[in-house]
């Protein structure tokens, strides 16, 4: 009997999928095992269960874990708000308005998308130090309110350009200025692009490690990634179960947002090449 190529294809794709999911499944499984069996109990289904890893991991670090979750949540929420407001305003100007310097500014914006951010790190740090912003959330938040991420502007420009210009014409004839047109006509139609921006911002900011590491020194202000790193510092006590439990807690929101917002994510990267 001949096996159909279609069947073989499914076997191959499933095998790749299983291989890719294995690390995540292993993480979840290890978060449910007692620390001393994490590396000896090989199966994904634990022989002995240690559900209290979550309870003990929650309070294993200098601050209780909900403090870190709250810190991250505050930063993420404000960053999303900042990106949505500042990038949509800029995108509307680029996509719909005519003004002197438009081409130059647009080229500059595209240029910043390609500019490696690492050259800005030291001068910005010096600036934030002079402003007295070290050990506050300002260095993490303010750039988002100033539309410094060209990707989101580009995404929204692309989206707004796909809307018919007759809408603007109709609004103008009805006596709307650019602000009313933006607020009443364009904004409501751009909700899918906003959703994409919000989800990408969420994931990028939630995972961000470098900037919080640079600017936050007070453990009470730590974000989730900074908090997790502390498990590695106290490795000697081998709290693996707790560490993997909190690792999973840190990944769960991203996985949740991914499942909820898949449609927008796939659309977003397909139109801009963003990831």
């Amino acid at each position: 009997m001949r096996t159909s190529p279609r069947f073989l294809r499914h076997i191959g794709l499933t095998a790749i999928g299983a291989l890719m999911m294995y690390p995540l499944l292993w993480l979840v499984s290890s978060s449910l095992k007692p620390s001393d069996t994490v590396f000896t109990d090989e199966g994904l289904w634990p022989h002995a269960w240690a559900l209290d890893n979550y309870a003990r991991g929650w309070v294993a670090l200098p601050e209780s874990f909900e403090i870190y979750l709250m810190n991250s949540a505050i930063i993420v929420t404000l960053s999303i708000l900042g990106n949505l407001v500042s990038c949509s305003l800029a995108a509307y100007a680029f996509a719909r308005l005519r003004f002197t310097g438009r081409k130059l500014f647009f080229a500059l914006m595209l240029g910043t998308m390609m500019l490696p951010g690492h050259v800005l790190v030291i001068p910005r740090y010096v600036l934030f130090d002079k402003l007295g912003w070290l050990n506050t959330y300002y260095p993490l938040l303010v750039p988002h309110f100033l539309a410094t991420n060209g990707f989101y502007i580009f995404l929204m420009v692309q989206f707004m350009r796909s809307l018919p210009t007759e809408l603007d014409d109709a609004a103008r004839i009805d006596g709307c200025g650019p602000f009313r047109t933006f607020w009443k006509v364009i904004m409501p139609l751009c909700l899918p692009a906003f959703a994409t921006t919000a989800i990408f911002t969420f994931i990028a900011v939630w995972n961000e490690f470098f900037e919080p590491l640079l600017y936050l020194t007070d453990p009470q202000l730590y974000t989730v990634p900074l908090a997790l790193r502390q498990f590695m510092d106290s490795e000697g006590q081998s709290q693996w179960g707790e560490m993997f439990a909190m690792s999973f807690v840190s990944l769960a929101p991203v996985i949740g947002f991914f499942i909820a917002g898949q449609k927008y994510l796939v659309k977003g990267i397909a139109t801009t090449g963003l990831r």
Binding site: W26, F99, P116, I122, Y125, L226, T271, G273
Partner: protein, 308 residues
């Protein structure tokens, strides 16, 4: 529709001159946050070039030191090692993950049942790949007693301490990068959908094999998208930081084998507060990234195909 599109400018000339300035002002108001933001990008950009030629420790004013930093960089073996690590990582992991992305996209594009499930499963890791939790997990998966070595043990192979042996530590991070091939894959899938079916039909009618169709239809038409991804991922990969930092606990070890350039820059600038030297390194890396990008653009003439 084109008629409508061209009309407004014609109308505009009839508007008295005074009112012509209004749209400009409104546009600048919309752009205001971005305009302030661009000052905070272009300004630091220039300042970092200045700092690259100074001796600066944040506490006292920067002191002009001419070519000192550059001379120091020429003799700094650790810097050379960090550039080597970054270059190897980029030149191996970027082509590998793009190739994996393209291969899987080609299979998925042929229309399999459950496409959206496969796509989600392959895509999810790319959202998690740079998180601290996953890099930490990687460290334990590949540890001496980790899962990977247990698995190899079933076949009687004693694996090395992947993360503690300088020969292998970087390769585990390359694998982590390949694990995140889902993002370019989704982009490729979208690109493949844009290729008109009739091209394939015409090729098939001329007797082109599947491989020939891939070489002569798919690859040329997808090449602008592949190129864009290649450029973007190389720029991003040259700036890798978190992976090296978390894998080595901030040291870049074992034996500097995961000392990415940006990790060394961080150690110099924020560990030793040698910010002038760190700025020099930032610019060196910028020049290197620019060089690689330029090479990419030059090479693109020979393989990237633009319709019309």
């Amino acid at each position: 529709m084109t008629v409508l599109l061209t009309k407004p400018p014609a109308l505009r000339t009839a508007v008295p001159k005074k009112r012509k300035r209004r749209p400009d002002r409104a546009a600048y108001l919309f752009l205001l946050p971005w305009l302030i933001g661009i000052v905070f990008t272009v300004g630091p950009f220039a300042v970092s070039l200045y700092l690259a030629f100074t001796d600066y420790n944040l506490l006292t004013a920067p002191r002009w030191s001419g070519w000192d930093n550059i001379r120091e960089m020429i003799g700094d073996a650790t810097l050379h090692q960090s550039l080597r690590v970054t270059a190897i990582y980029t030149l191996v992991s970027v082509p590998l993950s793009l190739a994996a992305a393209l291969a899987v996209a080609m299979v998925l594009q042929r229309g399999v049942r459950g496409l959206s499930i496969y796509r989600s499963v392959y895509y999810l890791p790319s959202l998690l790949g740079s998180s601290v939790a996953i890099v930490m997990l990687w460290r334990y998966l590949f540890g001496y007693q980790g899962v990977v070595n247990r698995f190899l043990g079933w076949f009687g192979i004693q694996g090395p301490g992947w993360t503690s042996d300088p020969h292998f530590a970087l390769s585990t991070l390359i694998l982590l990068h390949v694990w995140t091939f889902g993002a370019p894959m989704v982009i490729f899938l979208a690109g493949l959908k844009q290729i008109p079916v009739m091209y394939y039909e015409a090729a098939a009618m001329d007797g082109a094999s599947a491989w020939r169709q891939f070489r002569s239809v798919t690859l040329p038409l997808l090449s602008p998208i592949i190129f864009f991804n290649l450029v973007q991922s190389m720029i991003a990969s040259f700036q890798t930081f978190t992976q090296g930092y978390v894998m080595s606990g901030g040291t870049g070890g074992p034996a500097e084998s995961t000392l990415f350039s940006n990790l060394y820059l961080y150690q110099k600038g924020f560990g030793e507060l040698d910010m002038g030297y760190a700025s020099s390194m930032a610019w060196l890396l910028l020049v290197i990234i620019g060089g690689f990008t330029a090479v990419n653009f030059l090479a693109a003439r020979y393989w990237v195909f633009y319709e019309n």
